[in-house]
Structure formats: structure tokens, C-alpha cells
Symmetry: C2
Subunit: 368 residues, 2 copies
């Protein structure tokens, strides 16, 4: 069916562009002997997870136990790259079926203790990677001595199994071509960590890294065995602006309708913060909250919840009320999280759709 | 049950605070002879809509036809305060049952033409309020002559019925006590509009206005018959910062778990942009993306998708990993939109819950 059959705002994914993105990342990983473990936070869809596994991904990465319970439909090897704390979340994690290999990434003794107690309760082995801070200062142990102490604490608590180390270079936001200095520092940090762990008899089997801005340069970090990029499946305006993809690699757009041209110099669309997310571009220049796919000079300059203001000062284009437009959002992972269904398109036609299975938090029932 | 039975992040609403908020706004509207038509974008829940109607609200306001199809379970008088354009959305609007009075707010001839064609198709009367720009420069006709032309265009297209004028003073973001000058300009604009329409034989039966920052001063705008506040049901950090509610009127918090204290000077919680929304405070000072309800000096200073960084530099408090905290978000309407279920709490216990019925876009089936 044609786009005008959809109620806007509606999330569209160009099927051919997505397939090409998935192929390219798998080919990169294969070429450099890296295990690809895509982060499913970007798509939250079993359908896309299966497409990644089918192409050769070693497993999938999740941010929450709920996401893991969904992604067990797509993969039998799952990493929750997040400390799992609290009885409810731990119990959710152990509902994942027994033949799925589970790994958890964490950075504290408390997280190890809680995970170990749950693993004993469920009599189930869980691999653990210890996260060290590679410069982002978000989570991750700043001191390698402390990180090694955590590794020993894991090993002392079977059925937990220490399997290696992990980092997330989310502080490297420079465009791909300007990352040399930051990558050099990262190379040094990772080498130092691997050497320290190895000399202490804790040689890491897994060295897990990778972020979207650095994804195509992961092979330059010696010792890395696994990468966890997420955004590459759909890509977005930020990824294009920093040069980690091209504009035509942006598979994901939000279809919107022009609803008002009353105020001169602008057009208002029905995609606002509740459809696009209020995510600035980081690591590159770029005003606004998204740009039109076929007129990238026209940006969403302001938003309310259900209104997006297209700034027409950069263009001679003057849309009429009722016209459809497609916006490339700044940060697609946030937009996915706002939707229940994604529409797959090819050549101006909506040809399929799939659910965003792991959107929300998985509270099934309503109490009271 | 106690809070530690919930998987975090989880949205909590204090039932007594919400009831007090609903009571206070209805009492204000009653005291000043204003029709209260709460905007349901804030809660998107039939349960809360019914609570508003039960207290005397004249009807409910929605932003989309999908929201109207949900809110017909709570009210028999609905306003879609948004131009309804495109076949799919118009058809959705007309699935609202026949005994519900429908009104649409719009600002273009194109929106009138499309709505009129659908109303004829469905043989159903629809009231229309014409929106004029009261200074926000988002939607709304800037010229009163153009607005009157639209009113005549409505009347010329039965079964549409011109019922009045509307505005949204969203540009007034000053704290409540600093709004005098802005309110004076607004008073003048509204009086001018009412007089122009009346002299032209288009005396507006409805004059619909109101926004959260100005909600308690709506009676100072002579001629206004109806107000459409939304946020007051739950309130949020922005509403408190501008003085339109107190901190203790904030009924809505996001329950979160401290997941890491590895990096000195901060604690990381499991509520990030996918749980809190990335909405700055507007119209008042206030750093960060939310603040702890019982320690408002501790703010969420940075966020990733599933990480919120609590800046501890303003506090002696040092949480341990696994500890629960409650965050008052900056903009609650965005947070509701991220959740499927709201938990109603009283005195440290979760005593009920209700669905966010109108979250999402209402795409029922998956195609292909």
C-alpha cells in the first residue's frame, strides 16, 4: 500500500537500505575476525535480531532482562550489557530458557553478589564480563586493580564464570576522520588492561568493545574480540553527520503530515517530541531535531509534544497543508522506543511491518 | 506490595497527591465559571480521564484521533485540539461513537475541507474552533481577518458547525509571579479577537485557552470560557520550578535503582532518556533532567538511553549500589508516553495500577 494509507506520524524502514547496513557490518566483522554481537536497543525487534543472527552475528546484546526475554526468540547467546540488580529484574533474567548462553556485564561487587545468589538459586551458569572505564566516566571501574579484584570475586562465586573484560568508548564522539588521537588513547588503555589481567592470571577470553562512532575502526584496537554496535542497523542523522554512515544509509524515517503553514517562514508537521525524541546531534554540527530525508537542508527546528516546526528559511520549498514528508531523526534508538510497530517500505510502498517487541518494560498485568 | 517488588525504572503516581491536584483544578474552574476540559496528553489513561469527569470536567481534550477513540470510554464530549488531516486519521476520528460530541480545533481551509468531506461522508455534525496565534508562533492564524474567513468557511460547510475560537499561550513560560506583562498582552489579544468576531456576526460561543504555566490565572483573561490544562493531574519539576505547583504537588515519580557508583562523585541509576525523556526545564532555572523527590538538590545531570547520572557534588548523600530512588521528571507528559502501565502508590506501598491506554499510535495489526 502507499504511504498515504498510514496514520502519521509513522516509523518507516527502507528494507533494502537496512539489508545493506546489516550486510556491511557483518562483512566488516568477518574481515577483521571480530565477533559481532549487535546491541538490540536500537531496534528491539525479534525480526531484525533474526536478520542479524542469520548473517553471522555471534549473539545479541541487550540492555535489560526484559529485552533478553524477548531476544531469546532470535538468538541462543545473549549479553545483558548492564548490571542486573534487584529481585524482580534478576528473576526476569532467569526466565530466559536454559539453552540460551547468558552473559552479564557489570562493575561492582554488589552486582556480582546479587547475580551469584540468583544463579545459585536457579543453578545456572552465567558468564560475566567486568566493565572498566575507558574514558566515558559513566559506568565501569576506573582502577584496573579494582577491576581485577572484581574478576576474582566473580571466579570465587560459581556458577558465575569470569569470561573477560568490556568497555564502551562512548566518549569518542568526534567524526570518524578526527578520531586518531582519541583512538590512540583508547588503544593504550585497552592494551594496558589486557596486559594487567593476563599478568595476574586472569587472561580475558572476551574483550568486548565498540560504539557507533568508532565502529568501523574497532579493528585498530588490538586485542578486541567482540563489538556491540547498535545504531548501524537503521542509522540516523547523528551517525551520518559524524561520517559513520552516509545519508543514503539512513534506513529509518518518520513519515509525517504537514498540519499547518499559518505562521510565515515555517511549516508544522505532526511529528514532535513524542514521535522524534528530543535528542540533539552530538559530536558534530547540526541544528534541530531531525532533517527531511529528501531535503536535508530543512530541519525540525522546534518541537512540542505533537508538533514539529520545519524551518523553511534555508529552502525555497513551500509545502501545502496535508503534504507528507519523511524525517531522519537525530537518534533512532530513542524513536524506536516510542513505537509499537515499524513499517517496512520499498520504492514508495509499505510492503511489511514488524512489532517493536521489546519496547516498554514488559509489565504484563495491571494490578489493583 | 512494597516498591522493591517492581522492576525499575517504574512510573509511580501518589494517589492522594493526584486526587488533590484534580480537586484543586476543578475547584478553581468552578470558582471562576470556567469549563474545565483537561488535556489527556499528560496521562493518556481512561482511569484518570474518568476521575476528571467525575469531578465535573465538561469534557476531555485530545491531541490525536487515536486518543479520542480511547477517551470516549471516559467522556461523551471530546475536543481534538489539533488539525485532523489525511484519510486514515479522519476515518479513525469518525469511529468515535455517535453519541459523543466531537469538536476539532484547526487553523486552515485545507483542514476544514478535509474534515467537512469526512463529516459529510459519515453524516455527522462536528463542532469547530478556529485557532488564532496568541504569540506562540506554532500553529494558529496570525491575522484575525484570516481567522474570521476560516470561521465563515466552517459555517459554509455543514455538517461542520463554527463554535468559537481557541488559542494556546504556550509562549508564556515565565514563573507564575512574573507573568503580568505577558498576561496583559494576552488579555489585549483575546479581547481584540472576541470583539472582531462579534462585530462580524461570528460571536464565539466558546473561547478556549489555558496552558499549564498560566493555568491559575486563566480567569484574568476576560472572555475565556474554557481551559485545557493537562500537566496539573500529575505535575512535574518544570511546573514546580515556575511556581504553578509546589514540590509536594508532584504526584509522579520514576522509581529507579542505583546500578553503579564506580566513578567518583556520581551515582548511576537505571533511568535514562528512555525512562525520563530528555526534556530541559523551560521558563525557569534548573539544571539536569530530573531531581530526586526527597533530595531535590540531587539532579540527573547526564543521561544515556538506560543510564542516568546523579551528580553528588551538591549533597553529602552517598547511595549504595542497589538502593532505590525516586526521580521527579522535568516533563511528565513525555514520560507517560514512554510507559504502558502506571503504578498507584500510597504510603510506600503499590496499591493499584492502570494502563496508559492511549500510549502509542494505535496501530493494531502488523501487516505483511
Amino acid at each position: 500500500m502507499t504511504f498515504d494509507h498510514l496514520e502519521t506520524p509513522a516509523p518507516l524502514v527502507d528494507l533494502d537500505v537496512m539489508a545493506s547496513n546489516l550486510d556491511a557490518m557483518q562483512a566488516y566483522a568477518n574481515a577483521h575476525g571480530l565477533a559481532l554481537r549487535p546491541h538490540t536497543k536500537t531496534h528491539k525487534s525479534v525480526h531484525v535480531g533474526r536478520e542479524q543472527i542469520r548473517r553471522g552475528a555471534a549473539g545479541l546484546t541487550c540492555a535489560t532482562p526484559f529485552e533478553a526475554t524477548v531476544m531469546q526468540q532470535a538468538a541462543d547467546d545473549l549479553l545483558v550489557a548492564y548490571p542486573v540488580l534487584g529481585h524482580a529484574k534478576l528473576e526476569r533474567l532467569f526466565t530466559v530458557r536454559d539453552d540460551v548462553a547468558l552473559r552479564v556485564q557489570l562493575d561492582s561487587a554488589e552486582a556480582i553478589d546479587q547475580l551469584a545468589a540468583a544463579a545459585v538459586r536457579h543453578d545456572r551458569a552465567v558468564a560475566v564480563t567486568v566493565e572498566f572505564d575507558a574514558g566515558m566516566h559513566r559506568v565501569g571501574v576506573p582502577s584496573l586493580d579494582d577491576a581485577m579484584a572484581l574478576a576474582r570475586h566473580v571466579s570465587a562465586n560459581p556458577p558465575l564464570e569470569f569470561s573477560g573484560i568490556a568497555f564502551y568508548p562512548g566518549h569518542i564522539r568526534e567524526p570518524v576522520t578526527s578520531q586518531d588521537a582519541a583512538l590512540e588513547r583508547l588503544r593504550h588503555k585497552v592494551a594496558e588492561a589486557i596486559e594487567a589481567f593476563s599478568q595476574a592470571g586472569l587472561a580475558p577470553q572476551v574483550v568486548s568493545g565498540g560504539s557507533t562512532p568508532t565502529m568501523w575502526r574497532s579493528h585498530e584496537i588490538a586485542g578486541v574480540t567482540e563489538i556491540r554496535p547498535g545504531t548501524y542497523a537503521y542509522n540516523d542523522r547523528t551517525t551520518a553527520e559524524i561520517g559513520a554512515c552516509t545519508w543514503s544509509d539512513c534506513a529509518f524515517t518518520v513519515l509525517a503530515t504537514v498540519v499547518s503553514t499559518s505562521v510565515p517562514g515555517q511549516a508544522v508537521i505532526d511529528a514532535g517530541a513524542k514521535a522524534l525524541g528530543r535528542e540533539p546531534i552530538r559530536g558534530a554540527s547540526g541544528e534541530g531535531w531531525g532533517a527531511l530525508v529528501d531535503r536535508p537542508e530543512v530541519v525540525v527546528s522546534r518541537m512540542s509534544e505533537e508538533h514539529g516546526i520545519l524551518d523553511l528559511s534555508t529552502s525555497d520549498w513551500r509545502p501545502r497543508v496535508g503534504e507528507l514528508v519523511r524525517v531522519v531523526p537525530n537518534h533512532v534508538c530513542i524513536v524506536t522506543h516510542l513505537n509499537d510497530v515499524i513499517f517496512g517500505v520499498r520504492g514508495g510502498e509499505v510492503v511489511t511491518s514488524w512489532p517493536v517487541d521489546a519496547r516498554g518494560r514488559g509489565y504484563g498485568g495491571v494490578i489493583g
